[in-house]
Symmetry: C2
Subunit: 421 residues, 2 copies
Amino acid sequence: MDEKEIKQTVVTQAMKAKLAARKLALLPTQTKNKIILAMAEALVKSKDDILFHNEIDVEAAKESGLAEALVDRLTLNEARIQEMARSLKDIAALPDPVGEVIADWIPPAGIHIQKVRVPLGVVAMIYESRPNVTVDAAGLCLKAGNAVLLRGGSEAINSNHLLVKTIAPAAYAAGLPEGAIQFVETTDRKAILEMIKLDQLIDLVIPRGGEEMIRFVREHATVPVLSHGGGLCHTYVDKAADLEMARKIAFNAKCQRPGVCNAMETLLVHKDVAEKFLPLICSDYQKAGVEMRGDPQVKKIFDGVLLAVDKDWSTEHLAMIVSIKIVASIDEAINHISKHGSGHSEAIVTGDAAAAEKFLSEVDAAAVFHNASTRLHDGGVFGFGSEIGISTQKLHSRGTMGLKELTTTKYKIHGNGEVRE
Amino acid sequence: MDEKEIKQTVVTQAMKAKLAARKLALLPTQTKNKIILAMAEALVKSKDDILFHNEIDVEAAKESGLAEALVDRLTLNEARIQEMARSLKDIAALPDPVGEVIADWIPPAGIHIQKVRVPLGVVAMIYESRPNVTVDAAGLCLKAGNAVLLRGGSEAINSNHLLVKTIAPAAYAAGLPEGAIQFVETTDRKAILEMIKLDQLIDLVIPRGGEEMIRFVREHATVPVLSHGGGLCHTYVDKAADLEMARKIAFNAKCQRPGVCNAMETLLVHKDVAEKFLPLICSDYQKAGVEMRGDPQVKKIFDGVLLAVDKDWSTEHLAMIVSIKIVASIDEAINHISKHGSGHSEAIVTGDAAAAEKFLSEVDAAAVFHNASTRLHDGGVFGFGSEIGISTQKLHSRGTMGLKELTTTKYKIHGNGEVRE
């Protein structure tokens, strides 16, 4: 397709989605749940077909020399299809955010005002690699009453194509307005560029994938963007910390799943407890195979710590590597976080309530933890159900993003002839 | 100043603002109110000096041939200075949004989660013409705990400069952290371009002024933008309308203040009541001097209506001009609004509850009114106090924007050693 054809195709799809969104916004919760459950059922029924098409992608990826971890993320099997179906069932079971009355009052003017949660309209999902995003995103968007345009990466084109070919007809048969789930077939990057500029037709774009792609979307979009933010998270062990608790938290935050955004990258330790605490946690890290990079004092206290370079304080390792620094005060810890943190999740371990309150108030991040692991910043743990990521933006949505973040609000006002005096 | 110097100046100002914002975020409500009241007092004390500098701007504007309406907006007098001071006192009296606990719960994981309202950080205000924006914006931003960078237009440079020179020292003397109110002196547009790309230092940019300037900011900003949206608002008179009520509402929506965003531009009338209703409202409009542009049927019913052209349905007149159309059904009315409306404020007049509910649900706008004038969409009327505008965006803030919209949220979590299993 040439540029003009790509544009035309994308615009036509977005227009269809917008028409569908108007109808979808009015569907009752029960119908939306029926639709989502029908999608789950269709997935399981078509599993052989899905696996067959997924194998084409996986073979191509191996041939092209895609990294093993990425090939793994791309690969489907029966268990993963069952997982996708279960995820849809979980979404169907979540409370419907649409229609929630957030506020309800009568001001002196006498009109009755209600602030009500309503769908956004059309959501464009731009993602890479993992085919389960196709299903999760479709389920979450539909539950929140939004039409969805799905644009997966070229490496998963056959899998994604077949997933949409499976879930969309099932959803339409269950009552979804035609056009509310669409797959953008072209793998040309120009299709993304066209989509993210359609601010008259698309209400939100969610990029999900590598940093480079997210930056590309942010830079060129005129449609509002909601994206998962990177996490350079710290744990600060205060002088008044329960050191056994600190040991457990600092180990969990680093090691339980090091490749994710809410894992800890840097451990800050108050100088008064460094000599006692560092040998404990560093031997735990050493046993677990964590590479430790510390300032000269840390290195002096525990043998086997490498000397940290400046870059270590500002690197999201996403691996079994930890940067360790000794600080002279809680203020030095807060300043270090303010300089290097990404505003994602930050923790203090302390038995001193005033120090905890100071840290929680002064550290500017989406979530601030006292005596708990940063790994707990998660939609599931928080009780929100499925999440579409964790935002480090300050506008619209900060922290874990779920169904509510896929909605907007509207003032519904009833009067009896009131006018402006 | 050359480009490099402009950049350096703006970056230095933004860095100072960021440092100030960290301290300002922690100020108690009482101190913030004391600061805002000190600003009000300083304004009144320095009124002669302010009027003297304002006259320089006004003279220059007249000489350069600025339109009379704009000269009027630029002009200060004693009453307007008193108004600015009163506006600050009103802001001081508003409840503090910072610290509000929006949600508070303990999920199965056992941690205690609180979602708390916190300041955004640094807000950049870019505006034109009216010097009172300098004072209002500073007051609102400070109350919400944000540092503010003020960048007014060149036509008001002397007035704005003196206003900041008046309120900032008074605020600092009352306890505001140094750097929390700053005026960007250079009138070069490049200063705007530099500011709106400082997403590491500035958290929000609010453009307030002409459409061209707002579009410029939206197109080039990497800092999130919150802006007032234009209003192409409709009033639909249903077949089941109380026609006397409809007459009062349609007249108020058009005539009470035609130059503002929530004024009505297009009147839609159901065909069943057109012959009875149009002669009533059109003679009211005629007496008030409103120019009427209708479809051929409207023109046939009321003499003195001009024939509307296509462009009239999509024009925000902001003047004593009304477009009038007869529709065959409520669905035609909703479709017309969906095609031409700007998503601002829309109204239906009807005695039929089902029709009202249909309209309020299906029309996609920030505020939808049943039996009330669109002119009521206003922060003051809604009971929010001062507003910084009305947003037609769907993300972060939809509809009238006040103090809350100048904040974000943060999850504060207390645990007892909880980790991710």
